[in-house]
Symmetry: C2
Subunit: 598 residues, 2 copies
Amino acid sequence: MPTYTPPIRDLQFVLHEMFDAVGTLKQLPPHGELDADTVNAVLEEAGKFAAGVIAPLNAPGDIQGCTLDRDTHAVRTPEGFKAAYQAYVDGGWPALSVDPAHGGQGLPLTLNQCLYEMLNSANQAWTMYPGLSHGAYECLHAHGTPEQKALYLPRLTSGEWTGSMCLTEPHCGTDLGLLRTKAEPQADGSFRLTGQKIFISAGEHDLAANIVHLVLARLPDAPAGSKGISLFICPKFIPQADGGLGARNPVFCSGLEHKMGIHGNSTCQMTLDGATGWLVGQPNKGLAAMFVMMNAARLGVGCQSLGLTEVAYQNAVTYARDRLQMRALTGPKAPDKPADPIIVHPDVRRMLLTARAMAEGGRALLVYTALQLDTALASDDADEKAAAERRVALLTPVVKAFLTDNGWTATSACMQVYGGHGYIREWGMEQFVRDARINMIYEGTNTIQSLDLLGRKVLGDNGKALKEFGREIADWVEEHGVTESMQEFVNPLADLGDKVTKLSTELGMKAFGNADEVGGAAVDYLRVVGHLCFAYLFARAAQVAQARIAAGSDDPHYRAKLHVARFYFAKLLPETAALIRSARSGVGSLMAMEADLF
Amino acid sequence: MPTYTPPIRDLQFVLHEMFDAVGTLKQLPPHGELDADTVNAVLEEAGKFAAGVIAPLNAPGDIQGCTLDRDTHAVRTPEGFKAAYQAYVDGGWPALSVDPAHGGQGLPLTLNQCLYEMLNSANQAWTMYPGLSHGAYECLHAHGTPEQKALYLPRLTSGEWTGSMCLTEPHCGTDLGLLRTKAEPQADGSFRLTGQKIFISAGEHDLAANIVHLVLARLPDAPAGSKGISLFICPKFIPQADGGLGARNPVFCSGLEHKMGIHGNSTCQMTLDGATGWLVGQPNKGLAAMFVMMNAARLGVGCQSLGLTEVAYQNAVTYARDRLQMRALTGPKAPDKPADPIIVHPDVRRMLLTARAMAEGGRALLVYTALQLDTALASDDADEKAAAERRVALLTPVVKAFLTDNGWTATSACMQVYGGHGYIREWGMEQFVRDARINMIYEGTNTIQSLDLLGRKVLGDNGKALKEFGREIADWVEEHGVTESMQEFVNPLADLGDKVTKLSTELGMKAFGNADEVGGAAVDYLRVVGHLCFAYLFARAAQVAQARIAAGSDDPHYRAKLHVARFYFAKLLPETAALIRSARSGVGSLMAMEADLF
């Protein structure tokens, strides 16, 4: 059975030493009183909760899965999930970074990000239940009426109720413009919702008293396609005016999917059989309203893979230290034992360091993005706020796709460290791989993320947001490029920055001539931008570590930072050479073959 | 539920048009009478059997799995497996490429390779049962006494009995030198075997009357380590002189593993509780004897991933043609439909073509290797035989590791084509991914394969086998490089050939100074050599296709060949840029970090 140790030290390194998170956040009006002790206390308690309460439920939850009672439409989650959720609510965790106006604790989203990394390491399937509430909260917070906010937000904040996103239908996932669920206006201002939804994570369960479904549907007179979609709130139980639970709304689970992984989370087919709903935001503007929820969810999915990468790494390291097999190529390293621990073998180290670099890089990127998100939400400087919004918009698809592709690579590498044992359920590694796989698909496939990045976020704004990010990197390069000991990190970073600029320009030119060029290069391009982020963040981490060591610290964490950064530049960054070559080869080799020759 | 169509046309292209397999094989004394009609008839019948009998059992077998009766130690395979095996035996398939002296049909191994590709596409878990018999057969054929051969080979040939390889123990997989199973000599010349084995594929099942276990164990006076291991034959039922079944031997299944995939195959913990066995070959030379079996098995594992790659590709194409989602970036392609089929999208094509190129390249590489294997076994020219043996030895780790890594990439890409549906069991794609994962691990992890290639097969013989292969490629390049229409294929092939030569030399020099340099670069190196094979084979395929088209053929298969070859050079070959850069960066970044900093 895998174990999990919250990476408090590295979270603190990223928060305090790389980004001076407290100093940054204190500039924002709601966080003027924040201090490092509070941050550290939250990290410690969150880590204890994740490792102590949630992690032990992960492997049993995978084996047990969820069950549906077809008579009552009730879904039973795996043993222990409900009690753990109650403990989560009792601990006030759902409220951590929520607006105090709705009962929240008002701490920065950056801290919530750290909490979620640890919860996801402990148990991705469980964490999806509270995770979906955040999206529902954000969406209602942004688009709900005052009455809707007053009724729903405090109960989502407390965790008394949870949320779900009812988007996908059997014939449409990516292309929501095709959806068919109907919303018929009723005399009392409500709507009658009828349709079928699939793949609804946490659509039905036994953890909370009520479930707040946010449903996309079509009004009778709606235009065809994505401009005719409206957003509705459709609770499992219709709340009474005082918030008490009224009638059971006919929005029920009609089937559970059998999936590759995340067995502990209920993936529901939902039937809306004339369910009562209320419009959220403007008619026919539902897709835009839903994107508030979706963007948060996309960062959340990147965070899921970060969590899996970290926990897979930790367990693989333990195994690699314990497992004795063969002698080092350079001669015995543990001559008193029958064989050397496999951590002496270069390729075992390569697999471990791949996962470690992906965890450290992913952690830094998510914290960096969360700080931008806090700034976007809470800054009182309009320019700063807008710039932070652009940065978040730019980085969201990168976080989602780059980190989830990395999570697949990393969990598979960690599983490989175990040899045959990695394939066996009891070791827990294969579950991490199976769980990680969904993250490349849901909340917009990684292909969709890449089109969002290249098509919309880069070419769509003429490269403005990318240039701003590039300027930040260039400024940093200029500042630290003069330090000789930093050149091994700064030079490849600067080189990659130049290449990204050239590649972006080249792809923009090609796209003028042929729109398919965007689709042909986008996936490669996104990974190149992901590497630019990682190269920047590893260089920054190395700079901090060097400075601490130069100042006399003998904390081994700093030595390790330098090793991991060197590994990243030597062994992972070279992927960009392949990606750029592939991206530049254009779309011809993809499009030339007639469909019937496939 | 996935479907499967045997790729007869492409097998014929590879056999007849790329390699003139019949012409080549007819030069070998046992195959002087071979003709193309026989080959084609075998392909057709094998395809019918695979698609009609075995494929329908794949998904149900995954869900049902194997069960162990702990009282009787009997293992029940999924419903239909036993009847399908009987049909396989009745069809004479186990005997296809077996020596007629032992009841075989004496057809080339190359044909058996084609049979196995199709069986693996249909059902990897089922195919492992007959697959393991081949290894046992080869091993006894090479090392058994005349009496052992007479007793066992005909029954393995007919399929009446199956085989197993009992190597791994809980504390040793890669490092068999550590194994502990004891073999005590008995007065009658037999041995009493006592120990625990794990991960024994097809170690117990209900398909055949007897199971011929080949067991590695230690004699009482054996030297420590890998030089003290002997090989024993240990049947489930002790055969009587006439081949009838005698006493049940105490070699029994004490547990079944719960695995990520290949649920239809029994992965057994085996207990040898004073079981009777007989020595095969020389005392303490068991590891070498076992390697006869292992090398065949390694090619077989590459073939498993080829099979999964092909079937995943076929189903993903069907889905991509049927699924309507979004419009093409260049405007509607199916304006009469609510959306375009997703095969219009460049990245969907990239995923499909990735799998297709990996299937076509893998098929060509395995047929190429099988022809060398037939030559190695059956040539009457000692030099030709030795050269073919060297070529097979060189390519075996490449086939095993490159094709299984590719199979993981390809099945995952095909699953991604399905979006959320790919993650759901009923579509069958996630099973291909789970099944494919074991192939990177068993029969020697892919890291072990890479060390075998770089350390033993390349540096260990001073590059002789690699140079011979390079010479073949260079000759071909010289012949076809003058054709202008071939330059898009020949130039990158020639360039990669030069790079492989330089990289091999560089790594050899570095290895003199530090043996770990081999371990640090081997995995990257193996994939570079894999690409050299693919680049050579795609260039050859393109040359054939161009020649056919130039001669007036309008067979779309040739046009498709050119498209896939162009895709390979544009989009997959660029990986070599990253691999070479990573390999050349050396082992420093892997070894510098102290083990306790991980």
